[in-house]
Amino acid sequence: MTALLLIVSAAWAQDGAKVFQQSCAVGYCHGTAGSANRAPRLAGRDFDRTYLLRVVEKGVPNTAMPGFQGKVKDEDLRAVVEYVLTLGGGARPVAAAPVAAAGQAAPKNLPGKELFFDPVRGTRCGTCHLVEGMGTAAGPNLAAKPDITAGDIERARSPHVETATFAGDRFPALVVSRKDGWVKLYDLTVAPPVLRTLPEGSVTFGPGTWAHGQAAGSYRSGELEKIAEYLRSLAKQ
């Protein structure tokens, strides 16, 4: 049993060396074989396997160490942990080989997700909506709409968007909070939305005329179909 575990660990560590070379040794991070760059040295140190796995999966808050869960396959994360454990002074793994030849498949996203966050567009859904931890939470939560359709996106009303007047300037505004004499609102004049804090008494509000179609206008209806499909899949998760 133990022997089998050791063999599995050794095999994993070899795979982990490759993953480490591409995801951990790069740039200013942990350096070749954990020799240290900006990120801490990993070579020659004793780590607890459970601790390492947690750090690799979740990252370290307030540092440059990201969580890799969901970005790198789970078995690769376990493999990289086995590799890092070998850097503690035990058996050295073989030198990492160059990996990931051009053309190797990147993690596949739903086309709708790519459209939602399409960086080439000036304004995309993610400019105002937060889903899966990305974007800006100005607009409503879209991750709980199991029946959303492209038509819903096209025709979306925005009943909460008012017309604010401040210092002679009229603009579409979405109020977030009113507290201690200050009103926090999203200014939707142009994307991205700006979260502004204004003295409550000096802002007046009137009926909104802003339409969601202005923001969604960069998408064709076929693309909106794909986005709706993506949102429906989120609601089912």
């Binding site: 350096g31 070749t32 540092t63 160059p98 990147a106 960086p119 994307a191 991205p192 700006v194 804090t197």
Partner: protein
């Protein structure tokens, strides 16, 4: 004898901008503290920010007796600049602080029109009330998980706009420089550093490589009001060490771009390194100085490339006036011509391990040079170190690191790594003097009309050299390594010198491979202010 400089790029009572003035000289006209009396320079206050992880890379600003200083995690403090007493503080809460590819660190704020502007570790821009620190507006530039970028540089305020750059040159990302209306935070313009389909320069990218080609804008630009041009330096293409899928010149990476301040439209560009495969960003400060060249006054821009090659261009049109190398140890090219052409490229080869000099940390790091109109010298640090690079092919993953290789730091052939601060003629590159340092000099340089040049070292010594000879005149142990930018200012007729102290940064992290003791250099985060002892003024 050359004509007196018509240009006024020096600071006086205030230190209003990141680079001193918009021309980025980092030169103070104050001379109360000078080469004759500097022995009597004493610390008068210290301010501990408490936000020490990552050190303190900031340039404090001083306006009308108030100092504004930002820390690694975007805390901002307003201090009485004469006493160090806190007036207000602002604590930023990031949307999501896990997984910063760059940072956490911050290099400063901008102050104008009653607001204090700062870029954040999660790629937002905030504007704070100058009197109270209350947040007035906040905008998400782009989700940082998506771009793999954030903002570490100080913003640049030009007229009614605040302009910011982003990190991201080592991520699968397409860079940009963005301007917001200073009063409201509304988007004014965006300059994409990589041209999109149909735009001139798009043909310098192969296939879809432009979508993830880097071109970050991670330091602060300069501004020439007479020309109404903003000058921004654009970083390396991604992947850093491998360019096999992005054949072509890869515009506008590794270029200085001149943008119309009102529209963000490109006026001219000068690409320093076509198709970079060494991670040698054009990222650093653009020093705007008018100097005679072959008998005629020229409006010049001086930019030190990360490789240490320094380009002097005409800032009205981008034409190269001269180019020269700051470092002794280089083999990534054989040389550079006076017209700025690189000769004898030595590119990393996939799967092979090659010694490349200088190292990725640069022939110089981002810490600024200074220009003195009095000595007419340009004071810049330089780094002599190398690395073994192993390039590898890599698949772009949006927002994730995209490096195309790994490296191990190495000493140069036949010599221990070291650093130097040179006083050079900014047009010819000829050195007037050189100060040698055991460890990399990674703090900015400050020059003053008191014939002084200040900088600090990784061991925490903040020191002054004679601007004319390079002789060390004074030093003080600040408690932690220096990686920020010192300034000078005056309150009620008393001149102060202030420096951030607090060791950290990506490049600082590389040091331990060459100097094992550096792994244990202490971090910190404080501002130390100095003045002449009252009785000796």
């Amino acid at each position: 004898m050359c004509a007196a400089l018509a240009q006024d790029g020096g600071t006086r009572e205030n230190w209003p901008h990141y680079g001193g003035r918009e021309s980025a000289w980092r030169y103070s006209e104050l001379s109360q503290i000078n080469a004759t009396n500097i022995k009597r320079l004493v610390p008068v206050w210290t301010f501990q920010t408490g936000d020490y992880m990552g050190g303190l890379q900031s340039t404090p600003l001083v306006i009308d007796g108030v100092m504004y200083v930002s820390t690694s995690r975007n805390r901002v403090f307003a201090l009485d600049a004469a006493s160090g007493k806190e007036q207000w503080q602002y604590v930023y809460t990031p949307q999501d602080s896990a997984g910063l590819i760059y940072g956490p660190w911050n290099r400063g704020v901008a102050v104008a029109g009653g607001l204090v502007y700062m870029g954040t570790i999660d790629n937002h821009v905030v504007a704070l009330d100058q009197k109270t620190g209350r947040e007035t507006w906040k905008v998400n530039v782009e989700d940082m998980k998506q771009c793999g970028c954030n903002i570490t540089a100080a913003p640049l305020v030009v007229k009614d706009k605040v302009i910011v750059g982003v990190t991201g040159g080592d991520s699968a990302h397409r860079g940009y420089v963005t301007a917001y209306h200073a009063a409201t935070g509304r988007l004014a313009w965006r300059f994409w550093t990589i041209p999109g389909p149909g735009e001139p320069g798009h043909e310098t990218w192969e296939g879809d490589s432009w979508k993830h080609g880097g071109g970050s804008s991670w330091m602060t630009g300069s501004y020439d009001a007479a020309l109404n041009l903003v000058y921004w330096s654009i970083g390396n293409p991604a992947a850093d060490f491998w360019g096999g899928n992005r054949k072509g010149r890869n515009l506008y990476t590794d270029s200085v771009v001149a943008l119309d301040a009102d529209t963000g439209k490109l006026k001219w560009y000068h690409q320093q390194i076509p198709h970079d495969v060494w991670d040698f960003d054009t990222a650093y400060e653009n020093v705007l100085v008018d100097l005679p060249v072959k008998g005629a006054m020229r409006k010049l821009l001086i930019n030190v490339n990360k490789s240490g090659v320094t380009f002097v261009v005409d800032r009205t049109n981008g034409q190269v006036v001269n180019a020269f190398n700051l470092v002794k140890h280089f083999n990534w090219i054989k040389g550079v011509t006076e017209t700025g052409e690189l000769v004898g490229r030595n590119e990393p080869i996939v799967g092979q391990t090659m010694l490349i000099c200088p190292a990725i940390g640069g022939g110089r790091s981002w810490n600024h040079a200074a220009f003195s109109p009095k000595s007419k010298l340009f004071y810049t640090t330089a780094l002599e170190w190398c690395q073994n690079v192993t390039a590898q092919t890599e698949q772009a993953r949006e927002g994730e690191t995209y490096f195309g290789g790994a490296f191990v730091m190495k000493d140069p052939p036949g010599e221990k790594s070291y650093s130097h601060l040179d006083a050079i003629d900014p047009v010819t590159g000829k050195a007037a003097w050189t100060y040698r340092s055991k460890y990399p000099l990674l703090a900015s340089v400050l020059a003053t009309a008191g014939d002084l040049v200040f900088t600090g070292d990784p061991e925490g010594y903040f020191f002054a050299l004679d601007a004319r000879t390079g002789r060390k005149l004074w030093s003080h142990q600040t408690g932690s390594g220096n990686r920020g930018s010192s300034i000078s200012y005056a309150v009620n007729g008393r001149q102060f010198i202030a420096t951030p102290s607090g060791w950290g940064s990506a490049v600082a992290g590389l040091m331990a491979q060459l100097w094992p003791e550096a792994e244990h250099f202490r971090t910190g985060s404080s501002v130390v202010a100095y003045a002449l002892a009252e009785e000796s003024r």
